[in-house]
Symmetry: C2
Subunit: 296 residues, 2 copies
């Protein structure tokens, strides 16, 4: 099963390398030549243009957002490279209604579509241990199994049509985005009280106030290390999708609204490319709090 991975960023690169390790013939495509070189060094095949690809049975899409996904699907040579009934597995986080729309257009061309947003972070992706929130026809899911086995630890099968996968990712991103902002708020208050931040992490991680994101991101704040695992701008985008979808449903989301405002302020302050935990810098500035690693 010749597999093409489009977008060799942190998640896509991990998925592509995991496929190679499982003996799947895998071609990677990215606009960044450095990413292609890194992939070739791992034993993958590099494509500098989609026009050079052919005979693809399965394509995994790992671009940044809905507009890039639509562009690569509908405004490129991709469909010419695909075999009939090829699997199109879209791993991009996008609105459920967009997932349904894209699925309809892809299936109208005779290809099969799986709505398959992922979770887990770059480290797990590189180990072939991401989580996939997947929905698509039973038959497509079965044919995708070798690829899913290569890249994922958990594959949640959420329904036989597109949209269900993206709905679950939406709920996950709501919680993840709010929890990172809450971790930042808690660490900023703790810093203002001159608490030992390492001790805060040690204790809270064993108490009812803990979250996956607190355990993962609070150490970045305590260490003053904002090298991006996932960036502020990812949550500007993803909480934007959450609040748009909620507005569309006429559903109130006061916590997501408050968190999104923080990510936007951070992005506007030039922190968009830093780790998402850098939202704490917005809070610290507004509160006159000195954080670890910041200039006095």
């Amino acid at each position: 099963m010749h597999t093409l991975v489009i977008g060799l960023g942190s998640m896509g690169f991990g998925a592509a390398v995991s496929c190679v390790r499982q003996g799947i013939k895998t071609t990677g495509f990215d606009l960044n030549p450095e990413a292609l070189k890194r992939f070739e060094a791992e034993g993958g095949l590099a494509a500098a243009a989609l026009e050079t690809c052919q005979g693809i049975d399965c394509v995994l899409i790992f671009v940044v957002n809905a507009s890039q996904a639509q562009s690569v699907l509908f405004d490129s040579a991709l469909f010419d490279a695909l075999n009939p009934e090829a699997l199109v597995i879209n791993c991009v986080t996008l609105a459920p209604s967009t997932a349904v729309d894209i699925a309809n257009r892809v299936e109208a061309q005779g290809f099969r579509y799986i709505d398959a947003p992922v979770s887990g972070g770059a480290a797990k992706a590189l180990q072939g241990r991401m989580s996939i929130m997947a929905s698509g026809s039973r038959h497509a899911m079965m044919d995708a199994q070798p690829v899913f086995d290569a890249i994922a630890e958990h594959v949640f099968e959420l329904g036989d049509t597109a949209g269900h996968g993206s709905q679950m990712k939406l709920i996950n991103q709501l919680l993840a985005g709010v929890h990172i902002a809450a971790a930042a708020e808690a660490m900023n208050l703790a810093a203002s009280l001159d608490m030992d931040l390492q001790k805060v992490i040690e204790v809270i991680s064993q108490c009812a106030g803990s979250s996956w994101m607190f355990e993962n991101r609070a150490p970045h704040i305590a260490d003053g290390d904002y090298r991006p695992l996932s960036s502020v701008n990812i949550f500007v985008k993803d909480l934007g999708i959450v609040t748009d979808e909620a507005s569309h449903q006429q559903v109130v989301t006061p916590l997501s609204d408050a968190a999104l405002a923080l990510y936007r302020e951070a992005s506007d302050a030039g922190l968009g490319g830093e780790d998402d935990s850098a939202v704490v810098k917005v809070l610290a500035k507004q509160s006159n709090v000195t954080l670890p690693g910041s200039r006095q």
Copy 2:
């Protein structure tokens, strides 16, 4: 070591019973005669009035709030019941500055004070497995060890003066209160999208969006079961302490503010005595969402 437990609510009752089980001579005091009867049935000694108590070496305070704690300490016969240098272990959630103030007044009477707010919930309390965020003199902590061993799984020693324990509890309650509100917001949005709520819990619990509170409280919402483990009014109080302390430090807390507004709205709507996850009912009403267990 004759121990007196004041306040036999869900946490205090669990602590008192755990002391009895470890062979510590334990007297319980509560204004509710039913609570006293239940404690006697577990082998404890019941005191209907503090005037009848004497020879107490250690008192554990488990009343609801700072004002009750101050009243039982300074406007009752408690001090007459205490032996010289008795241990006063205050497990009530209160502002760090209040903890310092109370400690000073207790120590001025010749007693020893431990600032010891707790976490873990009623079920763990009953198993002698709560968590204690403790600060107090090294000597007092050593003497308290048999009681801590009886009631707690984790004792975090956070410093040699009062206030440090309450600071950590403050941070925990900020996170816990925001995470419950976030879980409610996520479940309400999922319900509006007609998602399978049990599936949401199953998937999110294994993804980056999870939190201790999500795993614990989201099932209440999916089951439509709002019998209180911990009530809405507890978080009206505790997030009130968080935001007061933050204001005092001139620290901004936009997520705590948004969550506190929800708990207050729930309390104003007559839901104060329900499980804290009942904040979801405020969101559902504002969003015209029908939740499990609600009247159509």
